[in-house]
């Protein structure tokens, strides 16, 4: 069996992480959840994650800022943005900055599961090349 991939879920509304954690764990991932970007960034000092699921609009460092930090720190990772303010502008910017996918809130649990599943394949590929 392949190694478990790790996922970091960051959203300032606790319900997002709380609901995604058991679902993603059921799907076979190791999951950590954070409700503020500061503690998620701090966690990056200790470890890396394979996939990030992050809210866009947050206090302090926002999703865009976090995306940059995550990409910088974990080079093989993929970032999925979730946002309740999905404008064309913000979606475009997310992609420009290297997000793998952007999902509008509210979303179905399967949508995240599918996005994560696709990101997983990319991460695996990158890992095998590096």
């Amino acid at each position: 069996m392949k190694d478990k991939l790790s996922i970091c879920v960051l959203d300032d509304e606790p319900i997002v992480g709380d609901r995604l954690k058991p679902e993603l764990e059921d799907a076979g991932y190791e999951v950590e959840i954070f409700v503020d970007s500061a503690s998620a960034i701090k966690r990056l000092d200790d470890r890396c994650f394979d996939i990030f699921v992050t809210d866009l609009k947050m206090e302090g460092v926002d999703g865009m800022g976090f995306l940059e930090k995550a990409k910088e720190r974990c080079e093989n990772s993929e970032v999925i943005m979730i946002t309740g303010y999905a404008t064309l502008e913000s979606v475009r910017e997310s992609f420009v900055r290297g997000a793998y996918d952007v999902i509008a809130k509210p979303f179905r649990i399967e949508e995240i599961r599918e996005a994560v599943n696709k990101a997983k394949k990319r991460v695996r590929k990158k890992k095998s090349h590096s």
């Binding site: 509304e13 997002v16 709380d18 954690k21 058991p22 764990e25 509210p106």
Partner: protein, 867 residues
């Protein structure tokens, strides 16, 4: 251009209100259409919110804020449109909408909203939104009241509002807050402060109105004989019996006579400030100020035997057994644990066998009609079991119904009264730790070995796990025999299923949508539901046990107890999330329809208690204005209307508001169907006029009896082949509004069919019939099922059907209108033919097959999927 000039002068000249401020015909329809559009949009948003309650979505606060802001905006716009065409007759709507919106914002902010400021409420008058007003104990009982096979003694509750009145009357708010503030910092002073506060409360005076209402409600419980009346008076604090039990910390009083009710009320609320309760608050980090308590008054059940049932054994939950503690007399002896009682372990599976029992020597009991002190149990009774096996089984059966509803192991206090009737005295979540969250590797491995009967075959409408024997409901009779705890399986979700839903452990349908009718009821009762599976009724064997995993969308063969227990003991409930509770509460102020009867005395803006009511009011009122025109077809003909010539004996007046008719039509002359230019009208007419649509089944012989109450002319117009009534179609190039009176039913079709899909709409409304309400409702159920499966959003009650479609391409609208045209012909006399509920399915299949929505050759049809 000549025609344009004609239209303009028509618009200028025709006014529907001769005495009222003039609204041009054109403006009338523009605004009427906008009302429908606004209502459509609102109902879409409501359906979207309801869909989120099923547990499949992750949503947050912002979603709720946005949704209620958008709904308010749309409803205000509709109110404006109505006032425009009614000559400002409904200005009151604005303040009603404002008030409803304010309440929603308060709910969202977590503020307590007590409807009407009620201070005393009978248990059955509690509403879904009042959990915080009546406290969990009363609220849980209220919810149990509506479950099958449960019997709750007559009760009433003094609300939190009543509590605040008591404090206010005696100027206690500030004093108590100040004292409580002191003991937070000084552990040693808790006893002293507790005594001070309790004395303040016991010495207070009950406000006159509260006193009056308590006594009146207490009398209502014993209407004949209040002298021998006895009550139990129990605390029902907001935080109590929910996530926190406060077990044993608040006072309850039993055998309270009528004359001591008021003093008992004071004693119970004083109990909130007992030293034990204050320490518990400190421990659990609960707020110290603004504490509040509702109080539950119950008819005293004179139990011969009473006790407590736990739906799982907290010590060994995997044992699959319920635990019952029982003693003769009142249940307090069992709750307090200060005397020997009997213990039974009973299987959680039908027939609920007693697995083991420990019969102790029961020396003491609390007498059902005596004092507070225990009395001796007679020596010959002491060693006898307090419960017989079938009594234990019936307690467990009811306890499991309650557990299934709350989706949590439960702690239930019960009593068997002198008639042997099981009474539920209180129920709360059993304090049992919910462990891990995700499925363990062992559980996953176990599930891999199970036989999968269905996988990813439908859409989850409500998340959860349920198990039981498969039971197919195909008609009224099978519905009536629906066994409690079975998995309800049906071809499609017709509204009559609602009766069985509360007793089902899971629901599966072949056809249906998560935003449909039945899904709404399933969500209300929190039953795991998968709809639109296509083939479940073929694949699943009646009578066989299955386990429905409406989390992963899988149906397994057999009963997988590990999975059921995983949900019960391990999985955090999405329903218990704050956001879900708030959304549920918001929706209770938005989506129920209480304003049903347009003839009713409360059918006015003030009668609107939800946004759905407001929409219905605006809808009916604007429709009334529109139909007032159709009353005078001669006027219409005189002022620009034309008669349609057709093979159907329809007396139809066409009114062109621009581009709807060929320019060659002339005033006073017949219009041929080919001269219709209105695109939506052409589509609808193509359906109505197609040769094979009119149902020609013979009228059954018993029809005469049915119709005996009607006059001869009425009978002729219904049973005969003529289409009596006055019918009006208002036509624009892309617009159609048709009102039809065919037989005794009333149909309205309003459609916009232009190049921009986002602007396109269809609205269809159908009501009435010549038969009794049962048959008319059957026809309505048929229409709902067909329309829903074609792709409409539907709602209905009784014989009323409303269907909407939005956001569709012109081609799609054309197809919808064609089908509606055919449907109008198809169902014209069906109410007469629909003798029982099987006919819903019969005619559903016939229509779907005849219209190639399902291939006629495929007996295992699958409903047209709307994606």
């Amino acid at each position: 251009m000549k025609l344009a000039g004609q239209i303009l002068s028509f618009i200028r000249n025709v006014s529907i209100f001769r005495k009222e401020p003039k609204v041009s015909f054109h403006d009338l329809f523009v605004h009427f259409h906008q009302i429908l559009e606004g209502n459509n949009a609102t109902m879409e948003m409501v359906a979207d919110m309801e869909d989120k309650l099923g547990g499949q979505y992750v949503f947050d606060r912002k979603y709720m804020e946005d949704s209620i802001a958008n709904i308010e905006k749309a409803v205000l716009q509709s109110a404006y449109n109505l006032n425009f065409i009614s000559g400002n007759k409904d200005l009151e709507l604005y303040s009603v909408i404002e008030k409803l919106a304010r309440q929603l914002k308060q709910e969202l902010a977590g503020e307590l909203v007590i409807p009407g400021g009620r201070i005393v409420l009978a248990l059955e008058d509690i509403e879904e939104t009042m959990d915080e007003a009546v406290g969990n104990k009363a609220y849980n009982l209220f919810r149990i009241l509506n479950l099958p096979n449960t019997n709750v003694p007559p009760s009433f509750v003094v609300t939190i509002g009543g509590f605040h009145r008591y404090l206010a009357m005696n100027n206690l708010h500030d004093q108590i807050n100040a004292l409580m503030g002191e003991c937070k910092n000084k552990e040693s002073s808790i006893e002293v402060i507790s005594n001070k506060i309790r004395l303040l409360i016991l010495n207070g005076e009950i406000p006159t109105r509260l006193r009056h209402e308590i006594l009146k409600a207490a009398e209502a419980i014993y209407p004949r004989n209040s002298e021998s009346a006895c009550y139990s008076v129990r605390s029902s604090a907001v935080e109590e019996d929910g996530a926190l039990s406060f077990a044993g910390l608040h006072d309850s009083f039993l055998n309270v006579p009528f004359r001591e009710l008021l003093s008992s009320y004071k004693k119970v609320i004083a109990g909130m400030y007992s030293p034990g309760s204050i320490r518990y608050r400190i421990e659990k980090k609960l707020p110290f100020t603004d504490m509040a308590m509702a109080v539950l008054f119950q008819q005293m059940v004179e139990s011969r035997v009473a006790g407590v049932a736990y739906t799982v054994d907290p010590n060994s939950p995997q044992n699959q057994s319920c635990m019952i503690g029982a003693n003769f007399g009142l249940g307090t002896s069992v709750v307090e644990g200060n005397t020997e009682v009997d213990m039974f372990h009973v299987s959680r599976r039908r027939p609920y066998e007693v697995l083991d029992s420990r019969i102790n020597e029961k020396k003491w009991m609390l007498s059902p009609n005596g004092t507070d002190s225990p009395v001796e149990v007679s020596p010959e009774m002491r060693n006898k079991p307090s419960l017989l096996p079938d009594q234990a089984a019936s307690i467990v059966e009811t306890a499991l119904i309650i557990e299934r509803f709350f989706k949590h192991p439960m702690d239930i206090e019960w009593g068997l009264d002198d008639q042997g009737q099981l009474r539920i005295l209180q129920a709360r979540p059993l304090g049992i730790s919910r462990g891990g969250q995700s499925r363990s590797p062992e559980l996953k491995a176990l599930l891999k070995k199970q036989k999968v009967l269905l996988k990813d075959q439908g859409v989850i409408a409500y998340r959860g796990i349920g198990s039981g024997p498969v039971y197919i409901v195909h008609d009224e009779e099978s519905l009536n025999k629906f066994p409690s705890g079975a998995v309800l399986l049906a071809r499609f979700g017709i509204p009559i299923l609602s009766r069985a839903i509360p007793r089902a452990s899971a629901i599966i349908t072949d056809v249906g949508s998560p935003t449909g009718h039945m899904a709404t009821v399933a969500r209300e009762f929190q039953i795991p539901t998968i709809v639109d599976t296509g083939s479940a009724t073929r694949v699943l064997e009646p009578g066989c046990d299955v386990t429905v995993d409406a989390e992963k969308n899988i149906v397994y063969e057999g009963r997988i107890t590990d999975l059921l227990f995983h949900q019960l003991l391990e999985r955090p409930l999405f329903e218990s999330r704050y956001e879900f509770q708030i959304l549920r509460r918001l929706l209770r102020r938005i989506s129920p329809l209480t304003l049903i009867d347009p003839e009713g005395a409360n059918f006015n803006p003030r009668g609107c208690t939800t946004f759905h009511d407001v929409i219905r009011y605006i809808h009916e009122t604007s429709l009334g204005i529109l139909l007032a025109i159709a009353e005078k077809p001669s006027d219409l003909a005189g002022s620009g209307g034309r008669r349609l010539k057709s093979s159907l004996p329809l007396n139809m007046i066409l009114i062109d508001i621009g581009g709807g008719l060929d320019a060659s039509t002339q005033k006073g002359k017949w219009v041929m169907p080919e001269q219709i230019l209105s695109r939506p009208m052409k589509a609808l007419w193509a359906g109505m006029d197609s040769p094979d649509v009119w149902n020609t089944d013979p009228i059954p012989p018993d029809f005469k009896g049915l119709m005996s109450g009607l006059t001869r002319t009425q009978i002729e117009s219904v049973a005969g082949q003529t289409l009596a009534g006055l019918n009006v179609a208002v036509l624009g190039a892309d617009y159609l509004n048709m009102t039809l009176r065919v037989g005794y039913h009333f149909t309205v079709v309003d459609a916009l069919m232009g190049p921009r899909p986002e602007k396109n709409t269809i609205f269809f409304r159908f009501v009435g019939g010549a038969t009794d309400i049962t048959r008319r409702s059957r026809r309505a159920a048929l229409l709902l099922a067909i329309l829903e499966n074609i792709g409409f959003k539907v709602e209905g009650s009784g014989d009323l059907v409303i269907a909407r479609a939005v956001n569709s391409s012109a081609d799609q609208i054309k197809h919808y209108l064609y089908l509606i045209g055919r449907l109008i012909g198809f169902v014209r006399q069906l109410d007469i033919l629909m003798k029982d509920d099987t006919s819903v399915e019969l005619y559903f299949n016939r229509f779907m097959a005849a219209n190639s929505i399902i291939p006629a050759s495929d007996p295992n049809f699958r409903g047209a999927r709307k994606k």
